[in-house]
């Protein structure tokens, strides 16, 4: 069972990575740093598919948004932008993870 879940996670990661690369840059990769966000988002998607770890996704994304505010207030805008975009991206993936429950029940019973 655990092996099945691991295989499923790997499959989700492998399939989602090119999708996130396209969403981020349209496959126009200019440097290694262009891979970082898609990798994070793919990993987030894998995490969001595992109920047990889902809430960590929320905590991490909110932490990133909090750090975004701190860097923004100190005029470190590029860093704030990076943190904010990763934070919102992870948050979006977190919400997407609840879509089946939302369609079924109309609300999330437990976050």
């Amino acid at each position: 069972m655990r092996v099945n879940k691991l295989i499923l996670s790997i499959i989700i990661f492998i399939i989602s990575l090119p999708i996130f690369i396209w969403l981020e840059s349209g496959f126009a990769i200019k440097s290694a740093t262009d891979f970082v966000k898609p990798l994070i988002f793919s990993a987030s998607l894998v995490i969001s598919s595992v109920r047990f770890y889902k809430h960590y996704l929320l905590i991490i994304s909110l932490t990133l948004l909090f750090l975004m505010v701190i860097f923004y207030l100190f005029w470190q805008i590029p860093t704030a932008d990076w943190l904010g975009s990763v934070g919102i991206g992870m948050f979006t993936i977190y919400i997407i993870g609840y879509l089946p429950e939302l369609i079924r029940k109309g609300y999330v019973e437990k976050l």
């Binding site: 969403l23 981020e24 207030l73 704030a80 932008d81 904010g84 939302l102 109309g106 609300y107 976050l111």
Partner: protein
């Protein structure tokens, strides 16, 4: 109904809105300018204009179908105007209503969504009214359609939600009525998407969250479709005309690539740190238009307080059935509104690259971002509610109450402009507008003249100086910067007062404007001809215009000229406005007949206008789609053909030499790549994705070519795969229209031609000694490259075998499309300054389709004639060497010298004193459109570099009162080393009358050693850049130019003319409004109706119909797309009536049962 539930919030929002209005309007002045101009200044006049698709008042006329959306609002306000509301009261009333409906609407929406305490619903309404987005992006931005959207949104959602959830037809009717009253919001077409994205998401949410069953989902889907279809029907009166007539205009005003670049650059400002706090950093931080205080740390924290509540509401809302939908919508809207900023950057770019119409969303934060505070207000209250519930568990509600109160106090502090002064202008420039009384006086005077003397054949007003863009700046009491609004300020006659961003029309308006600058008193008939062609009756000279820094000229200069023109008389003067009248004998009516005509085939770039080449006759230009009838060509007096395209390119001898050097020198090869590469950071910075991609491929291809040349040099093998890779790069470069690529804004066409010609001339060098298969491959690439270079006008089709002397490294090529075989005179135009060139340009070698002809010129006024030549119909290519004039640089004694400037052995030394030193050489005879090359040698002593400036008389003046040159480049220097520099300047601005070159060295005034530079061999040369034109005289002018008579004209409306015409000879019926295929002429002799077969462009902007049937006819000249409005209004009315009857019927049935 619990009345008490509604009474006090209603009064609260009324009072709150009234208080804000009192604060904003306490000076008793209106606000105006920006993109919208003076919207509420004269609703009656706007209503007169807006009810027709064709805006005659904005002469020479243009279809503005989306202006129809202004009709309901201006209809209501015109009634207020009738009962005595002045501009201030009208604007204050509008703003009051907008504020009130925003706040009260959100209050009602919150009550309808979830059970919430009245107090919190009021807070939500307040937040919707007062948040960073509303203050900056709505009020400060001052786009009136956004005001209407902000006010209407809550009601649209209330009524739509009731319709979708409960099937309440009355709510549907209220939804449609709200759309009708607030239809002005659709004046910004993108708001169609904004509204329907929101309504669609709400409906989708009802369907799938949760998904109950197919039957329920189908029912909701059907309701959505019914609502959407009824919305389409009730809005068809403006929708259909806008989407029938609009797209052709939009496509001329914007290209897909421009929209993409705008999107990318704007997205740099809509990154998540800014979008999430609803802030537009451009206005708030970069421009600091609301004050520098917003850079303060405390001010930067405040918006995040509301973001905390919104995020809490978003997360807690996931657990609440009533709010979960809004949590999801907020996230979706955030991802939409941030545009091409990360995360998920690419879908927007992909959409823009493949769908032109998406260009209306090129500023997504402005167009969709308004949904953020809208949904944010709902989540804010949800968040407050969740926090209260959480803290109430610990009996600590007072903590959260205190936090709420503090947050709202902080919010009010953040939005201080709304409470202390006003959010529209800047702290030191409030955006007040006070239109001088002289405008009303001038308009009344003209109206009086027209009523007394010109009941028919009224004509137009030409406003000078004529802005070629849509905006203008006036030196009024409070200043004015914004949309040129003469169509509102002058209701007496239509006004030619600004450009339209449509190239053919703007080109003709530029000619009209510059005729006063370019033509003297001796050739004033050209000016008269232009005024006649544009049906001008009056000229209003604006001496209150800010003319520096743009495309305008000094009005006092023009005043002198206007006073001397024989056909004009200064008839009135009101402060800074002078009125000139065209004498009745010289006035040409809007509709007239003419027999004589000439055919003009204009250029696309419009650097010269035909008026000085043509005679007095009507100018006919075949329309873009139709081929003109051969007989029509033959009956013309003359045919004048301008080049379809022209370009400069480096001489092939020069290129071959360069290639030889590159082939043997690694350093030179790398230097070539650096030249191509240096543009890349600028492309990246400016968001030029497509241009950057092409540039990358050019770099890659050049690197591959250099590798292959090196291999050749070292006798190594060149493989098929190398050539395949190389060809792929080349194919990518040419896969899009390179000539219209934005890359040519950064690499000039000559340099682009040089880079690509290096490739083209390198290929034969590679070929030598290779095996036959590789040679065939190289030949194929060579042929491909040759075809592409010719196709995109980077090299001529025929090799120019002109002699190249020293100093000539470029040639100019003109491509003509000859309509018919005739004997054409070859003319070089705009020949001022011909004496500066060798042989005074009277002997020139021209290459005509690859054959060199040595021609002798004959000067005729401003034109050099090089004799006659027979050309067959089809393509013709003519070229000449780009030669330079004699040195125009001033002698040392005549230079302007600042600092310590000395000369010894021909070397000028410039030393700074008090921080600055420079020399300035005026350019004698400099005029608009001239191209100059400046070259000199320079050596630094203690200076890191120097500034190279081009100063023109039209340069703007900064706040310190100093002129700011438009060209001011800092050039780095290595000390004690002579450097040879050469600059070919861009053509001078068309309104330039004086220009000079400055070389400036500056240093720190406190420094002990002063910087100095030495200059020698300073040359300023005018580059021959004149156009070649072909003219064929076909027939003698018919002495009787009148082909008949206009017996009667009656203008029923701006879109309809009736009249009677008598045709005695085949003639052109000329209608002096902007050419549009929608203008249809129908003639009737009482028995049959017919329309002229040919509808062509007249006088390079207007309409001409060829009537070859003799007789007397009634005519109707109608702008047919207006019928779409009438039909649409009927459909909308029928739909409303049908829906009302349906509702009554249902109520009746319900009552019965």
């Amino acid at each position: 109904m619990n009345y008490n539930r509604f009474k006090s919030p209603l009064i609260f929002f009324l009072l709150f809105s009234a208080t804000l209005i009192f604060i904003w309007f306490k000076q008793g002045l209106i606000y105006g300018g920006g993109d919208v101009g003076l919207q509420t200044y004269n609703p009656q006049r706007t209503l007169e204009n807006a009810q027709y698709i064709w805006w005659e008042a904005v002469a020479p006329g243009n279809p503005i179908p989306q202006g129809l959306t202004a009709v309901p609002f201006h209809f209501i306000f015109s009634k207020l105007q009738l009962i005595g509301f002045g501009p201030v009261l009208l604007q204050a009333t509008l703003f009051f209503l907008i504020l009130f409906f925003m706040g009260y609407g959100m209050y009602r929406l919150l009550l309808s969504i979830f059970n919430v305490n009245k107090f919190y619903a009021i807070l939500g309404g307040l937040f919707y009214m007062i948040n960073p987005y509303m203050m900056v992006q709505v009020w400060h931005r001052f786009v009136h359609s956004t005001f209407f959207l902000a006010a209407a949104l809550p009601f649209l959602v209330i009524f739509w939600t009731n319709w979708i959830k409960k099937g309440n037809s009355f709510s549907l009717l209220l939804f449609l009525f709200t759309n009708l009253i607030a239809v002005y919001l659709y004046g910004t077409l993108a708001y169609l998407l904004t509204v329907w994205i929101l309504l669609f998401l709400i409906t989708l949410g009802e369907i799938i969250i949760p998904f109950t069953n197919l039957k329920h989902s189908s029912r909701l889907l059907v309701k959505f479709l019914i609502g959407f279809i009824l919305w389409l029907l009730t809005n068809s009166w403006w929708l259909v005309p806008t989407f029938s007539v609009g797209p052709a205009t939009f496509a001329q005003q914007h290209t897909g690539e421009e929209s993409l670049v705008t999107l990318i650059n704007i997205s740099k400002q809509t990154i998540i740190p800014y979008s999430l706090q609803l802030v537009n950093p451009f206005y708030l931080f970069l421009q600091a238009e609301l004050g520098q205080v917003y850079a303060n740390g405390l001010m930067r924290i405040i918006p995040w307080l509301s973001v905390i509540f919104i995020l809490i509401g978003l997360i807690s809302g996931l657990k609440q059935k009533k709010i979960v939908l809004y949590s999801l919508i907020f996230l979706i809207v955030l991802l939409f509104a941030k545009g091409a900023a990360s995360p998920f950057t690419y879908p927007y770019i992909f959409g823009f690259e493949h769908l032109f119409s998406l260009g209306i969303l090129r500023n997504p934060f402005e167009k969709i971002g308004i949904l953020l505070p809208f949904v944010g207000s709902i989540l804010l209250i949800a968040g407050i509610g969740s926090l209260r519930t959480f803290f109430s568990r610990f009996n600590r509600v007072y903590y959260i109450n205190s936090a709420i109160i503090l947050s709202f106090v902080a919010l009010i502090i953040f939005h201080w402009p709304m409470f202390i002064s006003q959010p529209f202008g800047k702290p030191n420039n409030p955006g007040y507008v006070q239109v001088p009384q002289s405008y009303k006086d001038t308009d009344n005077w003209i109206k009086n003249e027209v009523n007394i003397n010109y009941k028919s054949n009224i004509g137009k007003i030409l406003h000078l100086p004529l802005p070629l863009g849509e905006s203008v700046s006036y030196k009024w009491r409070w200043g004015y910067n914004g949309l040129e609004s003469s169509d509102l300020l002058f209701s007496s006659l239509p006004s030619i007062s600004h450009g339209f961003n449509i190239s053919r029309l703007d080109d003709s308006l530029t000619a009209l404007s510059l005729s006063f600058l370019n033509f003297g008193i001796s050739n004033q008939n050209y000016i008269l001809r232009l005024l006649q062609n544009f049906n001008v009756r009056f000229i209003v000279l604006h001496k209150d215009i800010n003319w520096l820094g743009g495309d305008l000229y000094d009005p006092t200069l023009i005043e002198e000229k206007l006073n001397q023109l024989n056909f004009l008389k200064k008839s009135a003067s009101f402060e800074d406005l002078l009125v000139y009248k065209v004498s009745d004998d010289n006035f040409k009516p809007k509709i007239n007949l003419t027999v004589n005509y000439q055919l003009i085939y204009p250029s696309n770039n419009g650097t010269f206008w035909p008026w000085s080449l043509t005679n007095d006759n009507l100018m006919i230009t075949p329309s873009l789609d139709d081929q003109i009838n051969n007989d029509t060509i033959d009956l013309a007096n003359q045919v004048i053909v301008f080049p379809e395209s022209s370009f400069n390119y480096p001489h092939s001898v020069f290129i071959n030499n360069l290639v030889d050097q590159i082939a043997s020198s690694e350093a030179l090869a790398q230097s070539l790549i650096s030249e191509i590469r240096k543009v890349k950071p600028i492309l990246l910075q400016n968001g030029e994705i497509n241009a950057e991609h092409i540039n990358d491929k050019l770099i890659s291809a050049t690197e591959k070519m250099i590798v292959m040349l090196k291999a050749k040099r070292e006798n190594s093998e060149i493989t098929n795969s190398q050539l395949d890779d190389y060809k792929m790069d080349m194919e990518t470069i040419f896969s899009q229209d390179l000539r219209n690529s934005r890359l040519l804004l950064y690499i000039n066409e000559r340099d682009m031609s040089l880079f690509l010609q290096v490739h083209f001339h390198s290929l034969p060098k590679l070929k030598e000694g290779l095996n036959p298969n590789i040679q065939i491959q190289v030949d194929g690439i060579s042929q491909y490259l040759n075809n592409q270079l010719i196709r995109y006008n980077l090299i001529p089709q025929y090799s120019l075998k002109l002699d190249t002397k020293e100093g000539i490294d470029s040639q100019k090529v003109f491509k003509f499309k000859i309509p018919k075989k005739y004997q054409y005179e070859i003319l070089m135009i705009d020949i001022k300054g011909s004496t500066l060139y060798p042989t005074f340009l009277q002997k020139i070698n021209l290459s005509i389709n690859g054959q060199v002809k040595e021609l002798t010129g004959q000067l005729k006024e401003n034109v050099m004639s090089f004799g006659y030549y027979e050309f067959d119909s089809g393509d013709v290519e003519i070229g000449y060497n780009i030669i330079s004039s004699s040195n125009l640089a001033q002698s040392f004694d005549n230079l302007i010298k600042i600092g310590n400037v000395t000369i010894a052995d021909g070397v000028i030394k410039v030393e700074s004193i008090g921080g600055i030193g420079y020399i300035e050489s005026s350019i004698p005879g400099a005029r608009g459109g001239d191209v100059y090359r400046v070259s000199f040698e320079v050596m630094s002593q203690n200076a890191n570099g120097f500034n190279f400036q081009l100063a023109q008389d039209i340069d703007n003046i900064n706040e310190a009162g100093k002129k700011v040159p438009q060209l001011n480049e800092f050039i780095n220097l290595t000390p004690n080393n002579w450097q040879h520099l050469r600059f070919t300047l861009n053509p001078l601005k068309l309104t330039t009358q004086e220009a000079s070159i400055r070389l400036i060295v500056s240093s720190n005034p406190q420094s002990l050693t002063q910087s100095a530079i030495s200059i020698r061999n300073l040359k300023i040369e005018k580059i021959l850049n004149n156009d070649i034109v072909l003219k064929a005289v076909l027939n003698e002018q018919n002495s009787e130019d009148d082909g008949g008579q206009i017996l009667d004209i009656s203008q029923k409306s701006p879109v309809l003319y009736h009249g009677k015409v008598k045709i005695i000879k085949p003639s052109f019926f000329i209608f002096s409004e902007t050419f549009h295929p929608g203008w249809k002429l129908t003639l009737s002799d009482g028995h049959k109706n017919f329309s002229p077969k040919e509808h062509l462009m007249a006088n390079l902007y207007g309409n001409a119909y060829f009537i070859d049937q003799i007789g007397e006819y009634d005519f109707i000249l109608e702008f047919e797309p207006q019928r779409l409005v009438n039909r649409g209004a009927l459909i909308a009315f029928t739909t409303y009536v049908g829906l009302i009857m349906f509702i009554i019927w249902r109520r009746f049935r319900k009552h019965e049962s």
